[in-house]
């Protein structure tokens, strides 16, 4: 019982203080998981992080699930996930409900409009980061080839990005290792 409560508290605090999405809360999670509660050792944490980075899906929920499982099995998974997601998901739903209620007002219309340039710039920065990570990882030539194919198929032919991601996945798994 105490273990479950501590799991809740640890993940609740790490995520409450982590602004800017999952990756931002990784150092805070480390603080709770390794330094404070000693649920994992430093080496175990880095292993978990390496795996979390290789798998799809949000990294903070993958971390929460793993630690929860280590401490208290599937109950631990549920509690750690709940503490990670529920508080801020509830807050998001409540805030957006308030906005929905006043959708017609010029106040909300202005807010909706002014959020768009910020998103454009945030996405631009992410594009830059993802491109340079990619060049770092598979080199400029492969990055550009895959990028152009993705651009043409997604933007021009409007193919569902799922297909392109799966295709890139297979290309990276079967073709790339033989080229280097």
């Amino acid at each position: 019982m105490i273990a479950l409560f501590q799991l809740f508290l640890g993940f609740f605090i790490a995520n409450l203080l982590g602004y800017g999405g999952g990756p931002a809360s990784i150092p805070l999670m480390y603080d709770q998981i390794v330094t404070h509660y000693k649920w994992l050792t430093n080496a175990e944490f880095s292993q978990m992080l390496a795996l979390g980075n290789s798998l799809p899906g949000p990294i903070s929920t993958n971390i929460a699930a793993y630690v929860g499982y280590q401490i208290s099995g599937w109950w631990g998974v549920m509690i750690a996930l709940f503490a990670t997601i529920a508080p801020s998901a509830t807050a998001l739903i409540l805030l957006l409900k308030i906005l929905q209620k006043h959708r017609g007002s010029v106040v909300v219309k202005g807010m909706t409009l002014l959020v768009q340039p910020v998103i454009a710039i945030m996405m631009l920065a992410l594009t830059w980061k993802m491109s340079s990570d990619s060049i770092h990882s598979i080199g400029p030539l492969q990055s550009i080839i895959i990028g152009i194919v993705a651009l043409v198929t997604i933007v021009k032919f409007k193919i569902h990005p799922a297909f392109i991601i799966v295709a890139a996945f297979l290309y990276g798994g079967f073709v790339l290792p033989h080229l280097s």
């Binding site: 602004y19 978990m48 899906g57 929920t61 990670t84 998901a89 219309k109 909706t112 409009l113 959020v115």
Partner: protein, 189 residues
């Protein structure tokens, strides 16, 4: 458009399974499913969801799944969307950590993640372009460009926390149309 639990599970599951490369890489996938494919929300509302999800603490993707599920099917929809989004990789994480040698596993995955990155970059770039174009259309070309440059400076030059930048723009946005009308009226006199 009315949708079913099955639609929610398929869409959110797909976003979860295909979201390689950490948190932000899934944003264009969310947009594709909820705006382009299922028409649950318009682009404007998607922008709001993203902005507020970013300004709140904690992981962004599960929150967005929760809201989209809630919007379509209430509280149960929210829970189902979150589960569909995270459960496949949660189970994979727990299972893999107990059986595989992680370092070797992540080494063989390096090329795969690397190959997916340019695709994600293209999707992020497309979103940047489309939201930039929307901002310029809504604000007019001069104000639009000023605001874009201003947010670039705030986010990337002086590196203010995104949550704070979003908050400041929301506050200004609340007064934007009032100020604009006042300005136009005075000029019209």
């Amino acid at each position: 458009m009315s949708s079913t639990y099955k639609d929610l599970i398929i869409a959110m599951g797909r976003v979860g399974i295909l979201g390689f490369g950490g948190g932000p890489s899934v944003i264009p996938l969310f947009r594709y499913e909820s705006v382009t494919r299922y028409h649950w929300v318009e682009d404007e509302e998607f922008g709001e969801i993203l902005a507020i999800a970013n300004a709140l603490p904690g992981p962004i993707a599960p929150k967005m799944a929760a809201y989209l599920g809630y919007k379509e099917k209430g509280a149960i929809g929210a829970v189902i969307s979150i589960l569909a989004h995270i459960l496949p990789t949660v189970i994979a994480t727990v299972a893999l950590l107990s059986i595989v040698h992680v370092l070797e596993f992540s080494k063989s995955f390096k090329d795969i993640i690397g190959a997916v990155m340019p695709v994600v970059a293209v999707m992020l770039g497309q979103m940047a372009y489309e939201f930039g174009a929307k901002a310029i259309k809504g604000l007019g070309i001069i104000v639009g460009i000023i605001v874009l440059v201003l947010s670039f400076i705030m986010l990337n030059v002086i590196s203010i926390q995104p949550a704070i930048v979003i908050f400041l723009f929301l506050v200004y946005g609340a007064f934007h149309f009032k100020l604009r009308n006042k300005f136009l009226n005075e000029r019209g006199k």
